[in-house]
Structures are given as C-alpha cells and as structure tokens.
C-alpha cells in the first residue's frame, strides 16, 4: 500500500548546466503552503494585485507533487507536524522550506504549550526564516528573494541535508510523535 | 285432450319444470346440501325427459309379455335406469364431499369455499 524504501543520497551536481538549472529553479518557485491561524491569512495577499508574487515566477500549487517550496506558517503542533512531514517528503527534489512567523520558528507566544514545537530545525531543514508576528507580505517577498538568491548561489541545500541526515531527523520526529505510523519515507 | 296427450304434456311440463327448478336452485341456493337437492331434482327432470324421448302414444310399457303387442321404445327406459344409477352415485358422492367440505370450511355455505381463487 505504501512505498517503504529510504531515499537514495543525492549526488553533487556542478557545472554550467547546473547553474542554468538553478536560474530556472530560482525563477519558477512553485509554492505549496501549510498554514494555521494568522499565518494562513497573511500569505494570501501575495497573490493580489498589490503584491503580485507572479511577477517573480512564484505560483501557488495545490498539490505537493508539483511544488518546489513548502511554506510553513503558523504554530506547529505535534499533530500537524506529521502532516507537514508527509507533505514535505512528497515534494520532488529540489525542494525548499520557508518558515514564516515566530510561532513557526520557535513556538512564539505558544512556547510553553503542551503541543507546540519550540525548535523547528530539529524536525525539518529550513532554508529561509521570515520573522515577525505575523510577517507582512513585503517581508515574505523579501524572504522569497533571499531564497532565490540562495538557490542561484547553490546554497539552498536543505533537502540534501535532510536526506543525508534522515536518521537524525526521524529520531527527533519520532520522539514527539508518539503514535508514529508514517512509512520510512513518504514518497 | 285425451288421457294420453294429457299424460304426454304433463310429463313434458313436469320434466321441464323439474329441470328449471333444479337449475334455479343450483344457481341461487347457498347451502351445499340444498344444491345437492337441487341437482337431484334436475336429475329427476332430465330422467323424465329421457323417458319422454322414447314416448310413443298408445303404447304400453316395454315389458315383454305375450299380451303386449305394441310398446314404447324400450331403449330410453334402459338408459334411464343407467342414468338413475349414475345419478345416485353422483348424488351420494356429492353429499359426502359436500359434508366434508363444509366441515373443513366450518360452514355449509358454498360462498365460503373460495380458497382456490386467482
């Protein structure tokens, strides 16, 4: 029913072609967004005529299969972390994560709640952090341009890091998700 | 009207009357035993008609005897005998079946015997 194989370790690619590819990747960021509470609301103005993310080639995709970027916005609970992990792993390589807002990054005002994560980095490799409670769309666009710059420079390697250190991440994830029923890797 | 023709006509009228009464009874009575009676009446009428069918004026009964010179057609009389015998058998069977059927249905009313329908 589920494919249980572990992913192969991605190889290192360099050269002119890779640069062109990275240019293309940077200029065509397709986003799948996860959001709770205010995070989900503040992301939407990006598509409107005022901010218009499409001019950067950024587009919303409704399915992780076709996306490149996972935006995590709003606090992450243990229960929702499971879903986010699955969405992230279902995105095809190369893939990036933007963490949006204080609650996402370090629990924010919910730091002492019984089910909100405090440190996202232990569970998923974040490429760009956008601070704020809640960050304005301008800040998000700033984050995107940072991500684009990182991709162009070949520094946005979070997904490789994740695959290489899958055991470490899994250990952390399984520590807080007590009823772990995901497959070894969510294809 | 001679005695013979009076007899002839009274035979016809009685026979026809019996048959008609019998049929009327069969169609209108509800009690199974009365229907049996009506049948018997009609049977008698029919037997009379059978006798009539062999009736010839001024003849005597078909009992072969030296004194008899001319007799009526003997055949119908023989037939009537058969028919009476059969009639008795039928009537007896009818009454038996009727009585048992009325026991089964709890009533001698023939209208109650409508289980077999459609």
């Amino acid at each position: 029913m589920y494919c249980n194989q572990r992913p192969e370790k991605p190889g290192v690619k360099k050269g002119m072609l890779e640069k062109i590819n990275n240019m293309a990747r940077a200029n065509s960021l397709w986003v799948t967004a996860y959001g709770t509470g205010c995070g989900a609301i503040e992301l939407r103005p990006l598509g409107t005529s005022r901010f218009d993310m499409e001019r950067f080639g950024i587009a919303m995709r409704p399915t992780p299969r076709q996306a490149d970027v996972l935006i995590i916005s709003g606090y992450l609970a243990t229960k929702t972390l499971k879903r986010v992990i699955r969405v992230y792993e279902q995105i095809q390589d190369p893939k990036y994560i933007i963490a949006l807002g204080s609650c996402t990054i370090n629990g924010g005002m919910y730091f002492d709640s019984y089910n909100t994560l405090n440190v996202l980095d232990k569970y998923l490799p974040v490429d760009v952090y956008v601070m704020g409670c809640m960050p304005r769309p301008e800040a998000v666009i700033d984050g995107f341009s940072l991500l684009m710059q990182k991709i162009k420079d070949g520094r946005a390697q979070g997904w490789k890091h994740y695959k290489e250190n899958l055991d470490y991440y899994r250990e952390n994830q399984k520590k807080i998700i007590t009823d772990w029923d995901l497959p070894d890797y969510n294809w | 009207m001679t005695a013979q023709s009076l007899f002839y006509w009274s035979l016809v009228v009685t026979a026809a009357g019996l048959v008609l009464i019998g049929l009327w009874g069969v169609l209108t009575r509800k009690n199974i035993l009365r229907i049996a009676l009506a049948f018997t009446l009609a049977d008698t009428g029919v037997n009379l008609i059978l006798v009539w069918s062999g009736f010839l004026p001024n003849r005597s009964a078909p009992i072969v005897d030296a004194s008899v010179t001319s007799m009526v057609d003997p055949l119908p009389q023989a037939l009537v005998l058969t028919s009476i015998v059969i009639g008795v058998a039928v009537a007896a069977l009818f009454v038996v079946v009727g009585v048992l059927a009325s026991r089964k249905s709890g009533s001698a009313d023939v209208r109650r015997m409508k289980e077999l329908r459609w």
Partner: protein
Amino acid sequence: MGNIVSIVLTILGALSWGLLLGGISRTVTARIHGRMGPRVTQNFIDMWKLFKKTSSIHHGGMFWMAPMFRITGAICVLLMVPLVIGNSITYNMSFAGDIFLVIYIMFFGCLGMALGAGNSGHPYAVIAVSRGLAQMSSYELSFSIAVVAIAVGLKTFRIEGIVEAQQAGILSWNIFRFPFASAGALIAFLPMQMAYPFGIVLAPQEIPIGPPTEYSSRFLSFMFSGRALFGTAKLILFVSLLFGGASNWISLLVKTFLLYMYPVVVSSVFPRFRTEQSIRFLWFVPTSLALVDLIRVML
C-alpha cells in the same frame, strides 16, 4: 526527407509558439487583474525547471504512458492540419485523413491523460476526469455539428479542401459564410481550451489542478508541452476551419495569436460554471446556433 524536416520543425515551432502564447496569456490575464504578471518567457522557465527536477514518482504503467499519449495525440492533431496553404511541404501528414479523423484523434490524448489520472489512484484526479469527459462530450456536440455543416456546405471533408475554398477574400471565410456554425464552434472552443466559464476541470481550488494532480517533474513537463502543442494544434485547426487558413507564416502567427487571445480575455472576466450548468449551456446554446447552419446546408 523534406517532409520529416518539416514535421520536426513543425513540432518544435508549435511547442515554442504554444509556450510563448501561454506566457503572453498569463501576462494579459495579470494585466486585466491589475497586476504586473510574470515574464513572457515564464512558461519556458517553468518547463525547464520541471524538466530538470531531480526526482519523480510514478504509479504504474498507464501513469507512465499518459504523458506520451497526451503528447502523441497533440502532435497527431498538429500534423493532420496543413499549416500554410500553398506551401505543400507544410501539409505534413494531412493527406492521411480528413476532418473526421482529426476530430477523433483529438480524443487520443484526452483518453491517455484520463487513463494516467485514473492510474494515479488519486480521487481528485478522477473527479476531474469525470467532469472533463462530461464537458467534452457536450462541446463536441456543437463542434461536430459546426464541422459537419461546414464540410457538407463546402462538399469536402479534407481540411486542405476546406481551406482552399476560403481563399477568395475575407468574405469567403467560413466565419462569414457559416456565421452560426462558426459561433457554435467558437463557443465550443472555450471549453476546449479549458477557459472560464468552463474551467471546472482544472479547478485548482477544490480538486488540486485536476487530472495531473499526481504528476510531477518530468512527467509534468511532458504534460505541459503536450498541452502547449495541443493548444497550438487546435488554434491552427480553427484558423483553417473558420478563418481562411493561412497563406503565409505571418498570417498564421497573427491569426493564431488573435484567436488565442479570445479565450484568454473571456476567461479572465468570467466566473466558473458548475459542471451540469456548463454541460447544459453547451448542449443548448452553441448547439442550437450550429444547428441553424446545418439546417441551412440541408435545405
């Protein structure tokens, strides 16, 4: 040999033209919305990115083959239509069949895509297929009536013959000779391009992107190029059927561009029909329009 070169060039040209038109349409839509919109070349970038993603998944044989089906169907339609009239080397394969063949070979790609969607095992993909097929069966009705009216009116099924019959000036274009049939066909053109108000199939809001929900990476790039090719092929077909074909390359580009803008403009100002609404609309409005010309032709 020249034929094969022409075929290869046709495919590449149609692909680029289709992607470019797609980019233009995104810009135009954005401008209508009051946005700046992406670059005109955005579709090329997207294609390249998708093509160069480093992993992908598949769900089985039909899932694998669906993009190939799609692209094959699109190219077949493209090759069955003569591009530039008078330039026989651009007729490609159009000698092998007539307009009926084109109508039916259009289904080839659709069926492939539908099968791929089915094999992906994703319920939303199949819901979209169900909607798409229902809608397709409806617009094909008016489209085929229009085509039959035109073909019978011109006494030929060969697309070449249909185009040649329209070469005597603008007024001999079928859109003027068969105005009602053309109107029917042009309304059917909207759902063919999945333009709003008939965009229920892709419906990104509730069924993520429709049939290709599960497609990713290189599969998706094949799907997109198939769509671009198919779009171009349909444009050329419609130009040949209704707008007098093209006597040179410029007029081909101009006519297809203008025709392409028509669904784009309509699409960006309309909300969306529900499936049964669009089916009913397509059954009645364009069909009755096209029937007017059919009856005219019969009498």
